[in-house]
């Protein structure tokens, strides 16, 4: 094979950026063309100006939000983390118990199977009357949304644990508790992590939803509040912020998983 030409190498460097840049350019051109009133679809440049002020308090164009981005983000992030961690711990624990023990499965599964199809957002009214307007209803909602993906993947992971590994464990003199901890749990980890990755997605979705309705802070609240003031540039800046935060948290989980599951290297084809 020939060595790649200079042009080919230059192309390879910008390959990923081509479609996003084109999209943004088209959007900018479309917004400026005057087909729609500029207030309804702010141009990317305008969004950037609003966003810059929201983050760095550059010119005060976002008024009360000016320079508040980090606080709004932190508020949303802490809710996501609280609900997600709670769901992760409980989902993994309960999932292990259900997957491992038939009696536990028979006792708990029917209830869970009925609760599971109820969309987490439909809990909002009850969440508000139980917890009021603050962090807790949002955390509760995030928990509901993250819990079931983690639970189901854990159950699946435990049940698909190779029986021969358990035989090997019994042969080496393991008690049921040790088999659970040293064989079943590590065997289920890949599955648990894929559940966690689905869960972090729902967690962001539900934080934003909860903040629109039941909380007076956070990125979701800013989004909905800006809508009332017809500041669509801030609405779009919030949307992109949420997208980036969701991407970042998924990326962190992916990195942690890659570290803990490094034994899978070589045995599993992983798309880069």
């Amino acid at each position: 094979m020939r060595a790649p030409t200079l042009a080919a190498r230059a192309y390879a460097r910008i390959e990923r950026a081509i479609v996003p840049v084109l999209l943004i350019a088209c959007w900018e051109a479309f917004s400026r063309s005057g087909i729609l009133p500029p207030a309804l679809l702010p141009a990317p440049s305008q969004v950037l100006v609003a966003w810059a002020d929201w983050v760095f308090a550059t010119d005060g164009n976002t008024q009360t939000y000016s320079g508040r981005w980090i606080f709004d983000t932190a508020a949303s992030f802490s809710r996501v983390m609280a609900g997600f961690l709670l769901a992760g711990l409980l989902g993994t624990g309960l999932g292990m118990a259900i997957g491992w023990s038939r009696p536990v499965e028979k006792l708990i599964e029917p209830v869970l199977q009925v609760l599971r199809p109820i969309p987490p957002v439909s809990w909002i009214p009850l969440a508000i009357i139980w917890f009021g307007i603050a962090d807790r209803p949002a955390i509760f909602l995030v928990f509901l949304g993250s819990f079931f993906p983690v639970l189901l993947s854990t159950i699946h992971g435990v049940k698909s644990c190779d029986r021969n590994l358990l035989r090997a464990g019994a042969m080496t003199g393991g008690t049921p508790g040790r088999l659970l901890r040293h064989i079943v749990f590590p065997a289920a980890l890949p599955s648990i992590f894929s559940g966690l990755r689905i869960a972090i997605g729902s967690a962001w979705m539900l934080t934003v939803t909860a903040e629109m309705v039941a909380v007076k802070s956070g990125v979701g609240y800013v989004l909905w509040d800006a809508y009332y003031f017809l500041r669509y540039d801030i609405v779009i800046a919030s949307m992109i912020s949420i997208g980036l935060l969701g991407f970042l948290s998924d990326f962190i989980i992916k990195r942690i998983a890659a570290r803990i599951l490094r034994w899978q290297r070589g045995s599993i084809l992983q798309a880069r």
Binding site: N164, A170, T172, P186, W263
Partner: protein
């Protein structure tokens, strides 16, 4: 001195879908002495793995008793090390942790596990691969890890279920030599399941030839060949000829299960 006593053991499997019963083992008696290397030899379906699983405690007789060291076998335990057909290692643990798995199961600390593992890693010739994961090793190397894991428990008996079946001929022969050396060094007792006549004659102090449907022991043959054994020698081939004659279908029982096996 008898270490393993198998006394009139039968094992019947129910087949609820067909409402029939399959007799895997029929009235089998066998005793294995300390330091013996017994090969259970027979065609597939003769119940040799079932017999091994009953010694291990993974399966239980329908009739009769299995005892090891005078104790009736109940659950699996660390006094009977098993080397499985597949290596059956924990894929998330490096070699040394797999070798020391028994110590993890008994709650020993990391330093002790690491130290104890080394002797057995050296014994199976895997020095330098302590921190590799099973997915990074070849099938033969993984099988060695499995053997080291069983040896570390210092078991009364090591049970091996066609452990070299998946290996190529060259590697298998190397593993045979290795296993004989380990067996002598560790002074252990081994029960080894195989369907290879050459393999059983290369390894065993005794070969129990089994027949299928229902599984019975045709003959228990003490093998008096010098080691290292030469598979081209006349004495080796005398044994082989004898075993082959035993493995040919018995005309009387052949019609009973309606299946004819040809000795080609």
């Amino acid at each position: 001195m008898t270490l393993i006593a198998i006394d009139r053991v039968s094992r019947v499997f129910d087949d609820p879908a067909r409402k029939t019963e399959v007799t895997a083992l029929d009235d089998v008696s066998l005793s294995v002495g300390r330091n013996e290397f017994l090969c259970l030899l027979g065609p597939s379906g003769c119940g040799k793995s079932t017999l091994l699983n009953m010694i291990a405690g993974f399966d239980h007789p329908s009739r009769g008793t299995v005892s090891v060291g005078g104790q009736a076998v109940g659950a699996p335990g660390a006094d009977r090390g098993v080397v499985f057909q597949q290596p059956t290692l924990m894929p998330w643990l490096p070699v040394w942790e797999n070798v020391a798995f028994h110590l993890l199961m008994t709650g020993a600390g990391k330093a002790i596990r690491r130290e104890r593992a080394q002797r057995f890693i050296d014994m199976v010739g895997l020095r330098g691969f302590e921190n590799h994961y099973p997915s990074e090793l070849s099938g033969g190397m993984n099988q060695r890890v499995g053997i080291a894991r069983a040896l570390l428990m210092n078991p009364e008996v090591i049970l091996m279920d066609e452990p070299f079946g998946a290996l190529d001929e060259q590697t298998r022969m190397d593993m045979h030599a290795e296993l004989v050396r380990i067996w002598r060094e560790s002074q252990s007792t081994i029960v080894f399941v195989t369907h290879g006549i050459d393999e059983s004659l290369a390894l065993g102090t005794h070969v129990a030839v089994m027949s299928a449907r229902p599984g019975r022991i045709r003959e228990l043959i003490p093998i008096e060949l010098e080691r290292p054994r030469d598979p081209t020698s006349a004495a080796f081939n005398d044994y082989k000829r004898h075993i082959l004659s035993l493995l040919r279908p018995e005309p009387a029982s052949c019609g009973a299960d309606g299946e004819r096996r040809h000795g080609h």
